[in-house]
């Protein structure tokens, strides 16, 4: 490689760098960026909290349910949470725009809440987690899924047992 031909090539091709922030910076589809959480599909198994090496994910008991928090400034973007999550409720987006002012550093958190509900069967107060559907055969109908979700853990177990017993 001749330096002159290299210079010529660079002159005709223009800069290799992206014009960001004056133009868009292309981001790969698989880029592992900011973590998001979807409370509606979460089973509340807390596997993500256990496997997170950075301690960025925290579940805590709240008055009205189970609170989820992921601290973006503690997160190391490893994707362990998403990889081990059985439902895909915790997910890494391609968003890497996480630069922020120092004053906002404690606001770089995503919160979520799995609310409490009153069991439609026994009236007990329990978390409205998404029921674990793996291994349930035959698969639940949409109606059954809604019913199952409205139950407390004990009534869910009873519901599934009764369903299995059905001929």
């Amino acid at each position: 490689m001749n330096v002159l031909s290299l210079l010529g090539r660079n002159l005709t091709q223009g800069p290799y760098t992206e014009p960001f922030p004056f133009g868009p910076a292309p981001t790969a589809k698989r880029f592992r960026g900011r973590v998001t959480f979807d409370a509606a599909t979460c089973e509340g198994c807390k596997i993500c909290e256990r496997v997170c090496p950075a301690g960025a994910i925290r579940f805590s008991k709240a008055k009205d349910g189970l609170a989820f928090a992921v601290w973006h400034n503690s997160c190391v973007f490893c994707g362990n949470c998403e990889f081990h999550c059985p439902t895909g409720s915790v997910h890494q987006t391609t968003d890497w725009h996480l630069a922020h002012e120092q004053a906002r550093k404690y606001a770089m958190v995503e919160f979520g809440l799995i609310p409490n509900q009153t069991c439609s069967e026994c009236g007990a107060t329990a978390l409205a987690t998404a029921p674990s559907l793996r291994g349930i055969a035959p698969p639940l109908s949409a109606e059954e899924a809604v019913t199952l979700k409205s139950l407390c853990p004990k009534c869910r177990a009873r519901f599934l047992k009764a369903r299995r017993a059905k001929p």
Binding site: M1, R30, F31, R32, R50, V76, G79, F83
Partner: protein, 364 residues
């Protein structure tokens, strides 16, 4: 009239403009010639070895990936190999191939990085920037296929975390096709360019005997005529069924080490292509995340810098009882005493760079 003494001691490092890593050398010189070298380590100790015993096995796959940025894939891979050995697990064939793909992509980027730095230290900035730009192709592969420019997150205990689909395979193939002519042109430049040859030929020589005495590994060993490559002598993943070529040169100078790295980058491309050709369908990991029973194991792999060894001891806890690793730089920096003997002061940085030191994983 005052006289300047002919013999004096100069400190090089731990923070030094020409050193990429924090190492401290106390160098006795006579005139411009090095007469004695003292290597002082421990400037970036972070206590990671201790930390691994406070983290679960699943967390440690991520933690070990962050010991070192350039060999970041080799650490979790070897850690997972040790864990799989304890549990008696064989990973699926597709996973074995995908592990090779991840490891070799890292090798291309790591080797090009070191060769680029050599140009920088020689003072040939145009070439430095050009090689870094070529390396950027490998960086794009990592970002597109794995989702991150350094930490691939490719490994899990029992297999791999990523898979190749049509789109990522297409990108990978196209990027490799672009890399080959670029790397071949870089090889030709390093073979013929006067500035490079003048500063690297017969500089920092390590003879085969000295290399064996120090137990050097990786490209440093192979540039001194020692044909030792873990991928060939103790194949893991899928290396025993791939066309692996072990490159050996005999001059043992800075130039030979750079040429070995470039040749291995090209071989890495051949290996990835062979994997893509033979990639079988099937699972990429075990169906269930395996539990690791109590036990002990040693695993080793060929990181871009050379042989990486992991010792893992587990007990009934989710955390390992002990994790210890021996990194290639630990063996190679000992050889600096031989390479730097009788060197010129101006060549110190070039010689130190030629072992591709990774102090962050050596001092963890």
């Amino acid at each position: 009239m005052s006289t300047v003494p002919e013999t004096y001691t100069i400190p090089v490092g731990p923070l030094h403009v020409a050193l990429e890593e924090p190492m401290y050398f106390r160098i006795d010189v006579h005139g411009e010639t090095v007469t004695h070298v003292d290597i002082n380590a421990g400037h970036v100790h972070r206590g990671i070895e201790y930390l691994t015993t406070k983290r679960t096995m699943l967390q440690n796959v991520v933690l070990t990936e962050r010991i070192c940025s350039l060999c970041s894939n080799s650490h979790p891979e070897t850690f997972a190999m040790a864990a799989e050995q304890i549990a008696g697990i064989a990973i699926p064939e597709r996973a074995a191939m995908l592990r090779v793909v991840a490891a070799e992509v890292k090798r291309i980027a790591s080797n090009l990085f070191n060769v680029a730095l050599l140009a920088h230290l020689v003072g040939y900035e145009t070439l430095f920037m050009h090689v870094m730009q070529v390396r950027e192709i490998a960086q794009d592969i990592k970002e597109t296929v794995f989702g991150n420019r350094m930490d691939l997150g490719a490994i899990c205990i029992g297999g791999v975390r990523y898979d190749l689909d049509e789109e990522t395979t297409g990108f990978l193939v196209a990027a490799l096709d672009r890399l080959v002519p670029e790397i071949e042109a870089i090889v030709a430049t390093y073979r013929t360019n006067g500035s490079i040859l003048g500063r690297t030929r017969d500089v920092g020589v390590l003879t085969r005997e000295q290399g064996l005495a120090c137990g050097v590994v990786g490209p440093v060993a192979r540039a001194s005529g020692i044909a030792y490559d873990v991928r060939a002598v103790a194949p893991y993943a899928a290396y025993d069924r791939l066309p692996l070529e072990v490159h050996v040169l005999t001059d043992g100078d800075v130039w030979s080490r750079a040429m070995i790295r470039l040749a291995e980058a090209l071989t890495a491309i051949d290996l990835i292509r062979a994997c893509l050709r033979d990639l079988p369908d099937g699972p990429t990991r075990l169906a269930e995340t395996p539990d690791i029973p109590p036990g002990r194991a040693i695993a080793k792999s060929e990181a871009p810098r050379g042989e990486l060894i992991y010792y893992l001891k587990t007990n009934d806890n989710p955390q390992p009882e002990r994790v210890k690793w021996r990194v290639p730089t630990f063996m190679n920096w000992d050889a600096l005493r031989f390479m730097l003997a009788d060197a010129k002061i101006a060549d110190i940085a070039i010689i130190v760079n030629s072992i591709d030191p990774c102090v962050s994983c050596t001092e963890r």
